[in-house]
């Protein structure tokens, strides 16, 4: 009976200065089992994973893996790899200066007979993996040049390059992926399961868990709550266990009648990124944007925000044409932008939460260039309470916060500036259900105040559930703009079909206005 | 009556890693030994200073720190007189005997800062330049040259030592038709000194008839370049101040002549004077500034005991 137990976690505790991240976790995972790990932001999921993989040392307890009958504990990443344990960490951990092929073989480069690295072989085999995962890129492409979603797929597909695998961990792999990539991932997980490999799967998207996992473990505030077979539970049950209270449909927010035009894009283009984009945003409106990876949604918003230069067309704000040359310009004109890659361009990781929250709005709390530290602190505290950022203090370095809490910091930063036009690019990446609800409430409040919200999300239920209108993009163009009534009649499949229907799409739709 | 007294004396060098200043130090150390034996006193002698001559502020700092450690006497050599006068005056005011060797606060003959030091032994930089110029012309004449180009090499730009270059150039140009090039500097890095000389050799080819290196590293670099190019019979090479590589070069003939200051003698005299001033309560020397002439050492005379010691004072080390 015990032979098929692959991993045992017994009484595991882990403390960081000022934080007890794990408070006595005990659980067993069997071969071929797909185990979900859920909990609120900061519950300790990622920490548990790092302990299992041996990259963080335990404060107490033990974790062992069954290696053909022997119980072993990895002491570091090298050990873990030797024991056949692989992890896909929450923060895309990938060498950005190197090629995809090389990242696949990181640390275990293939050598030819002469003992030198066999680039031909590596590139060839990598290309096969890339093709299997349908990524449509060259194995020699540098990671730095890829969109984040694709980078995430590279780290996922990387696991399949290994030979002896016993345990695979996915820490929020789908946060940045849209449906077809999620399907590819699920197929991969089933494949692993069939080979008797155990999988630990962390996600804040509960329907995914019900879809792919066998059992689910709930953590709360670093403590173990329970483990149950997935067939015994439903979404509502899990939410109540995680959050400690039942929750209604989180996408149900009040909508307000669209007011005056806030911003209008008129045929804007950036070469090689997108072409002839037109859309309008009104006060009190949530304008959703959907598209597949690389559809160019983020690129459009970056251009509007002054990160890249628009070469054709123009942007009007409140009816007046404006030239936005830099993000600073954009902010002055009342635009706020929450970027999709928080680690790259959203957060100063090695600075305190307090600085990060205030980072883009020091001009609002300073006079003659002198900052009011009291107000700085007060604002940080305010947001910490308002969107429940789990941190021992506002002086904590952001790099030490859990993923979801980092995301909340970026949102707090955006709100601090009180912009009229808010662009949210994947705002709920890695955020737990409870916090998602709060973010949606915030968005509702914003629209009630007559602000305009642009919401980009690769998660269809979210964009479809929240948007007043939905712009669907493909290959750098608008393929359709769907109004509220039409949207309510559509299924996810319908929207997906539009997004991938690049060929015919131009016939069926005009331009949003 | 001097018996049993003890003195603390600090040598504030302007470059501890230079052999020239180390030779001075040997002179001082020998003097310490002799004086201790002679008067039955004990001398606590210590050395301080920056590694390189270009570190002028570090030199000043060392001088200040030396004064702060309240010794009985300080012997020093300064590359920047302007900066040193105030601290030297302070030291004298605190009753510390301050002697300068080789590089002092003012040229011989000037008395503006006469209150800032006790005694100064030196060799005139101008004399060195003149002597080198004279030898250069004589040697070129021997080889039958009447026209050509002469290169000058030195470590760092330095006001006090500039006459070594200026006088050489002036002498040569006043007394002949040879062209003297601008000085090339190498910051006392031998490889750079060598590269500089090599580059001159390749630039001027046959036209290059003389090379003058105004300190030992310059002489080393010149000798190495000449050896590499195999032109020791075609080019007159003169160095200033010695080190072991230069001595070797002189023996080989890759250097024709070295103008040598009596570093050992200056160091010895400075120490002796400092101790005697302390013992007698006044400076025994009649003149506060004493000139010691440079010597000309060639392949022919280098092995006489007198010149051998001049070239390599380590032989004298007790």
């Amino acid at each position: 009976m015990n032979d098929d137990i692959l991993l045992r976690v017994e009484g595991v505790e882990k403390s960081y200065p000022g934080v007890r991240a794990l408070k006595g976790i005990t659980t067993f995972i069997r071969k071929g089992e797909v185990r979900a790990l859920i909990g609120e932001n900061g519950a300790g999921k990622s920490t548990l994973i790092k302990c299992i993989m041996g990259v963080e040392t335990l404060s107490k307890g033990k974790i062992e893996i069954n290696v053909d009958g022997r119980w072993c504990a990895p002491r570091n990443a090298i050990d873990a790899k030797r024991l056949g344990m692989y992890a896909n960490y929450q923060h895309v951990n990938i060498a950005k200066d190197l090629s995809i092929a090389e990242n696949y073989y990181l640390g275990r480069w293939v050598k030819n007979r002469c003992g030198v690295i066999d680039w031909n072989l590596m590139n060839r085999q990598s290309q096969q993996v890339i093709d299997k995962f349908q990524l449509h890129v060259d194995a020699k492409a540098k990671i730095r040049d890829l969109p984040v979603a694709l980078q995430a797929m590279v780290t996922i597909s990387k696991i399949s390059v290994n030979e002896k695998i016993r345990l695979v961990v996915f820490d929020e792999p789908t946060a940045l992926l849209e449906n077809d990539k999620v399907e590819i991932l699920f197929r991969f997980i089933r494949e692993l399961k069939q080979q008797g490999i155990a999988v630990i799967y962390i996600s804040h998207r509960l329907e995914e868990i019900i879809d792919i996992c066998d059992t689910v473990t709930v953590l709360k505030d670093g403590a173990y709550v329970e483990t149950r077979p997935v067939c015994d539970v439903d979404k509502e049950y899990l939410i109540s266990k995680m959050v400690g209270r039942p929750m209604e449909d989180i996408y149900r927010i009040s909508h307000y009648p669209a007011g005056a035009g806030l911003m209008r894009a008129e045929g804007i283009s950036v070469p090689n990124q997108f072409e002839n984009m037109s859309f309008a945003l009104h006060a009190g409106e949530i304008l959703g944007f959907f598209g597949l990876v690389g559809a160019g949604r983020s690129e459009v918003m970056r251009a509007i925000f002054g990160v890249t230069r628009i070469t054709k067309g123009q942007v009007c704000i409140k009816g007046k044409p404006v030239k936005i040359r830099s993000p600073k310009d954009a902010m002055k004109r009342g635009i706020g932008f929450l970027t999709e890659d928080r680690r790259l361009d959203g957060l100063a990781l090695e600075q305190t939460m307090r600085i990060n929250v205030n980072m883009n709005s020091y001009d609002m709390i300073s006079k003659w260039g002198i900052i009011s530290l009291a107000r700085e602190n007060q604002r940080a505290e305010e947001h910490r309470k308002r969107i429940r950022i789990v941190t021992p203090s506002t002086q904590q370095l952001v790099s030490r916060l859990s993923g979801g809490n980092q995301q909340k910091v970026v949102i707090a930063k955006l709100l601090c500036r009180q912009p009229d036009i808010l662009i949210f690019d994947e705002p709920t990446v890695g955020v737990d259900v409870g916090a998602k609800e709060e973010i949606f409430q915030i968005i509702q409040n914003l629209t009630r105040q007559g602000k305009g919200v642009i919401l980009i999300s690769s998660y269809l239920p979210e964009v479809m559930g929240l948007s007043d209108r939905l712009v669907v993009m493909a290959e750098g163009r608008v393929v359709d703009t769907i109004g509220k009534e039409r949207l309510e009649r559509m299924t996810e499949e319908d929207v997906l079909r539009i997004a991938s229907m690049t060929g015919q799409s131009k016939l069926s739709t005009g331009v949003a206005s | 009556l001097a018996e049993g007294k003890s003195f603390k004396i600090v040598w504030v060098s302007c470059s501890t890693e230079s052999e020239f200043w180390q030779y001075q130090q040997i002179g001082m150390e020998n003097a310490v030994a002799d004086l201790q034996a002679q008067y039955g006193i004990t001398i606590d002698f210590s050395v301080a200073g920056p590694a390189n001559e270009s570190e002028t502020e570090s030199y000043l700092r060392t001088f200040e720190n030396a004064v702060a450690s309240k010794p009985d006497a300080i012997i020093s050599a300064t590359q920047v007189p302007d900066m040193t006068t105030a601290i030297a005056r302070d030291a004298m005011g605190m009753g510390i005997v301050v002697n300068f060797t080789n590089c002092g606060l003012e040229p011989v003959g000037s008395t503006e800062y006469i209150d800032c030091y006790n005694q100064f032994y030196t060799t005139s930089s101008g004399d060195i330049g003149d002597t080198a110029g004279k030898i250069m012309l004589e040697s070129l004449a021997k080889l039958g040259y009447t026209k050509g180009t002469i290169g000058m090499h030195f470590s760092n730009i330095n006001a006090a030592l500039a006459p070594r270059m200026d006088n050489f150039k002036a002498y040569v140009e006043a007394n002949s038709d040879f062209e003297v090039l601008d000085t090339l500097f190498h910051a006392n890095d031998m490889a750079t000194a060598q590269a500089n000389a090599e580059n001159q050799i390749s630039t001027y080819g046959e036209n290059l008839v003389g090379l003058y290196g105004a300190n030992n590293i310059s002489g080393d670099g010149i000798a190495l370049a000449i050896e590499g190019a195999g032109i020791q019979d075609k080019v007159v090479s003169i160095g200033v101040d010695s080190d072991s590589l230069e001595i070797e070069a002189l023996a080989k003939g890759t250097l024709d002549c070295i103008i040598v200051q009596d570093a050992y003698g200056q160091g010895y005299a400075s120490m002796k004077n400092a101790v005697e001033t302390l013992l007698q309560g006044k400076n025994p020397e009649a003149a506060k500034q004493v000139l010691i002439a440079p010597a000309v050492v060639t392949t022919d005379n280098m092995n006489t005991p007198e010149f051998a010691a001049l070239l390599d004072p380590t032989m004298l080390k007790k």
Partner: protein
């Protein structure tokens, strides 16, 4: 330490918050050296020697503060010593050769420093040249220019009153040190309380983050290198007063000491971290080692070995303490 809940503003004023870990470690190392020297030598604890140490720290100290600012942005300024040297020369030339009044000579020197700093920013920002190379270039150019302007010689003839500044003092504190400490206090406050200070911290943590947070990278770069240039030239002015002349080698090799002082004090060469108090202590440590060596009469070669060991030890102590936590 950082993870304690902030119990409001009162908590800000206890020692553990006032000094960061690295600063405490440095203070420890310095105290140990101090004790050794005061017990082991007769004249270390004398008013003359203590003022000496302060006086000697001033020039490097001011440069190191500016260097810390640059390092926080993730840059580095190799030209610091040369800029200081150029300012020293400008003071000397203005006073001795061009016959300008003292105040004007200072203006000339400061202008020279500012221009050099802005030139650095120009090359770094407009052409995206790595700061290390840009400032190395500037250093080389300046060293050449200094020799061209001074004809390679010492420029003396500095105004007596101006030169006397370096030997004067306010109470026990030498004038030079007063300037240094004023710059430090100003620098620390600017870093902590100004939007400029925050901008450089954020810039150092990530260019993209800074840009998307509406911080103008151009503006911040020009400001920080310009500000550094100004401080370098203040150091140069102090140096002119201290040396009572300008030598073509003035300020040479200061970059290493200044960078070392910064990094000892907790600055990270990859940007985003640095402390003025730490830099102050780092400077003091470097100067102290030399002073103590001479007090003990250690021979200069051995002294170099010891200096290297002390510098490494200071950082090792810090790291071990951090680890022990």
């Amino acid at each position: 330490m950082t993870s304690q809940p902030a119990s409001g503003n009162q908590a800000r004023f206890n020692a553990r918050h006032l000094l960061k870990q690295t600063e405490i470690s440095l203070l420890m190392v310095i105290t140990v050296l101090f004790l050794i020297a005061s017990l082991g030598t007769a004249n270390f604890i004398s008013a003359y020697n203590l003022t000496n140490i302060l006086k000697q720290s001033a020039v490097i100290g001011v440069i190191a503060i500016a260097q810390t600012y640059v390092i926080i942005t993730g840059g580095i300024d190799i030209s610091c010593g040369a800029v200081a040297g150029m300012s020293t020369l400008m003071v000397a030339l203005s006073q001795a050769v061009w016959g300008l009044p003292v105040w004007l000579s200072l203006v000339v020197a400061l202008a020279a420093g500012l221009i050099c700093g802005l030139f650095n920013a120009f090359v770094i920002h407009e052409f995206n040249v790595p700061p290390m190379i840009a400032t190395l270039g500037t250093q080389t150019i300046l060293r050449g220019l200094i020799k061209v302007f001074s004809n390679g010689g010492t420029v003396s003839g500095i105004n007596k009153g101006f030169a006397a500044f370096a030997t004067g003092s306010v109470g026990f504190v030498p004038n030079l040190a007063v300037v240094w400490l004023l710059v430090a206090v100003f620098g620390a406050l600017l870093l902590k309380y100004s939007t400029f200070g925050r901008s450089i911290l954020v810039l150092g943590s990530g260019r993209e983050v800074a840009r998307l947070s509406g911080i103008s990278i151009r503006r911040t770069n020009y400001l920080v290198y310009g500000f550094a240039g100004l401080l370098f030239s203040i150091a140069g002015i102090l140096l002119a007063s201290r040396m009572n002349c300008a030598t073509p080698t003035a300020g040479m090799g200061y970059e290493m000491n200044a960078i070392a002082a910064s990094v000892l004090g907790g600055a990270s060469l990859s940007g985003g971290a640095g402390s003025i108090v730490g830099t102050l202590l780092g400077t003091l440590l470097i100067i102290l080692i030399d002073n103590i060596g001479i007090q003990f009469g250690v021979d200069p070669f051995t002294m170099e070995v010891v200096t290297g060991l002390v510098i490494v030890t200071a950082v090792v102590v810090d790291q071990l303490k951090k680890r022990a936590k």
